[in-house]
């Protein structure tokens, strides 16, 4: 090999190396890939808010009903704890003849539950034929319809339409419809007092699958978690006058969660778990409506259960869609409140609920785990608030439930499955004790609406049918 040839070899090798490096640098291995960007679904611009004349429709059918004594005036009952304090004794077995259904009623598709006030039941129903929200009043004992008040509004099926429970006092009825229309009526005769279109007034987003927040009346004042330009508002039920509006600087949105009254550290407050975070708002005093504390540590895209506030300042938060749960600890020092998250976990690691708010009873928490709750999925479980990841007991793999309601009355726990199977259990802090179980009616689906109970009459529903069961012994 000549010296000239030897000189050429490194030049050729260097040239090949340079070309290779250039080719390697210029080649794009992702050139055949499709970039996934937003907008590929051609999402629409949204539908403009409809002009709604709240309270425009009224029909009277009867004034004949049997007055009764007891009430279940709003979501989770009078004390907002889903525990009936009634002394009325209830059955613990249905017997061979099954549940005693005293009346049943076909409703528009949805999950709205009833409120009961001294012999009258109130239900916000969506009339699919008339395309109208209707607050319907029934006689509790025989189901005879008394009157209805409502308004035309177009609502498409989206896992049901109606899903809220009215708030009822001696004087007023307050409702929130699927598209955030608030209606306040006189309880006695259904006369219209005032209405509020939250979307138009505060520019909030209607929650997925429509409004799930149940309204609150506290001392004649309507308390609403609105989201949008304001966080929470208080409206005088008598006049419709706005008493205060809580600022919402972070633009948190309305959730399916409901506003819970809570007294801690010498202050009464309203606790609301919004989309974006959770807030405690002063309920009274010169600073009523101002934020006492807030945190964005709890921020999930769908929140249906309401905050469960315990006497020692612990607030249990839970939600579905993989969110899991969080335990907050509220502290007060010289009138100043602070809050910290002391525990947070995924749904397979401890007590979590997708739709219903857990129960706090005798110092323990009870709830039904969601479908992504691991090996204990869909089981009713009991935990101690000091460690909500450690199960005290679970109902067992042969006793699973769905997204339906559960509550305690006459020292019995009533649990409703999606298919309208009603279970009676003995609530206990040591073990699950089944008393009886019955299918209330056939072909039931999505029986998710919370229970209402007064004078021994239990109102429950599936997505299209409501029934009243006489549980009196």
């Amino acid at each position: 090999m000549t010296k000239k040839t030897l000189n050429i070899i490194p030049i050729v090798v260097s040239t090949i190396a340079l070309v290779s490096i250039f080719w390697w640098l210029s080649a794009d291995p992702t050139k055949d890939m499709t970039v996934n960007l937003e907008g590929a679904d051609n999402r629409g611009a949204g539908v403009a808010a409809q002009d709604v004349t709240i309270g425009e429709l009224f029909e009277e059918y009867s004034s004949d009903y049997q007055p009764m004594n007891e009430t279940w005036p709003n979501f989770r009952g009078a004390d907002h704890d889903n525990i009936s304090k009634s002394p009325v004794k209830l059955i613990d077995k249905f017997g061979a003849e099954g549940p005693k259904i005293v009346w049943s009623l076909d409703l528009g598709e949805g999950h709205s539950g009833a409120a009961i006030y001294k012999g009258l039941a109130y239900i916000l129903d969506y009339n699919e034929e008339e395309r109208a929200d209707k607050l319907r009043c029934f006689s509790l004992v025989d189901g005879k319809e008394q009157w209805s008040r409502g308004y035309d509004v177009a609502v498409k099926r989206n896992h049901g339409m109606s899903r809220t429970i009215p708030a009822v006092t001696e004087d007023y009825i307050l409702t929130i419809g699927p598209k955030c229309h608030v209606m306040c009526l006189d309880r006695e005769n259904g006369n219209f007092r005032w209405g509020l279109d939250i979307v138009k007034e505060y520019g909030n987003e209607i929650p997925f699958w429509y409004t799930g927040q149940c309204p609150l009346i506290d001392n004649g004042v309507a308390i609403l978690g609105v989201g949008g330009s304001k966080m929470m508002v208080a409206v005088d039920c008598e006049s419709g006058e706005k008493l205060w509006e809580t600022p919402n600087p972070n633009g948190w949105q309305m959730s399916h969660s409901s506003v819970m009254p809570y007294t801690f550290g010498g202050r009464k407050m309203y606790v609301y778990s919004a989309i974006g975070g959770i807030v405690g708002v002063a309920a009274d005093g010169p600073d009523a409506g101002s934020v006492l504390w807030s945190t964005n540590a709890w921020n999930h895209s769908v929140v249906a259960p309401s905050p469960l506030c315990m006497p020692d300042g612990k607030i249990f938060l839970t939600a579905g869609y993989g969110a899991g749960s969080m335990m907050l600890k509220l502290s007060e020092n010289n009138g100043q409140f602070s809050v910290e998250a002391i525990d947070e976990y995924s749904p397979k690691d401890g007590l979590a609920c997708e739709q219903q708010t857990p129960l706090y009873w005798n110092g323990r928490l009870f709830g039904i785990l969601p479908k992504d709750g691991g090996a204990l999925r869909n089981q009713l479980v009991c935990v101690d608030p000091s460690d909500t990841k450690k199960m005290v007991w679970s109902s067992g793999k042969d006793m699973r439930f769905g997204l339906g309601p559960y509550f305690i009355a006459d020292n019995k726990m009533f649990i409703l499955n999606d298919d309208a199977t009603l279970t009676i259990a003995r609530p206990g802090t040591k073990e699950f004790i089944l008393l009886d179980q019955v299918k209330v009616f056939e072909d039931a689906h999505d029986a998710w609406a919370p229970f209402a109970l007064a004078d021994g009459y239990l109102i429950m529903r599936d997505s299209k049918k409501m029934v009243c069961i006489d549980l009196n012994i």
Binding site: N36, L37, D41, G44, K156, N158, K371
Partner: protein, 190 residues
């Protein structure tokens, strides 16, 4: 004369016998062929009601990508904007941007129908059978997304490597005439 008739009768007997044998043979062959067409042995099938979406269908199948694919029962779907099978939990936005999609291969196509409905299609070529979408849909939705072994892709191993490890015993051999077990009234839109 009588002798001739006897000979003819014997030939006729032999001829008829041969015809009958041929006919019987044809009948037997036809029956065997028909039986093969109607039963055609056994194939592997996933029971979507037993499936626990463990993800092993994607990793254990001898085919790459897996012969297990997600299919969609449109009649069960809620057509939700917030789809637990399409979007990651707590996604930043309900959009088609890659960071919001749960599917690792973007095999689910999302189309806006009208407020508030969206339709979801599975691109079978991209689906790897990981079941992430099935888990999301089952946990948070109506369970309309579910897995099936696609028999135009499956090589029908004597011992299905997925069935060996399936923790919920959701895979079993079934007659080929009932190869799919689907939810709702699903039909492959492609």
């Amino acid at each position: 004369m009588e002798k001739k008739n006897k000979a003819q009768s014997r030939r006729k007997f032999i001829r008829n016998g041969a015809r009958l044998s041929l006919l019987l043979s044809l009948g037997a062959v036809s029956a065997a062929a028909l039986r093969k067409v109607t039963t055609d042995g056994y194939v592997w099938q996933i029971d979507p009601f037993k499936c626990t979406q463990c993800g092993r269908c994607a990793t254990e199948c001898v085919m790459t990508p897996s012969a297990v694919k997600c299919i969609h029962a449109f009649d069960l779907c809620g057509y939700c904007d917030l789809c637990g099978g399409y979007l990651k939990p707590d996604a930043n936005a309900r959009s088609t941007a890659a960071e919001n999609q749960l599917c690792p291969t973007a095999a689910i196509e999302r189309k806006f129908i009208e407020e508030p409905y969206f339709e979801y299609h599975i691109n079978e070529d991209l689906c790897i059978g990981c079941a992430k979408c099935v888990k999301g849909c089952t946990s948070f939705g109506n369970g309309s997304l579910h897995l099936q072994i696609m028999h135009h892709l499956c090589v029908n191993c004597n011992e299905c490597s997925i069935a060996r490890v399936c923790p919920s015993d959701a895979i079993s051999r079934v007659q080929a005439s009932e190869a799919y077990k689907v939810k709702g009234s699903w039909t492959n839109p492609t």
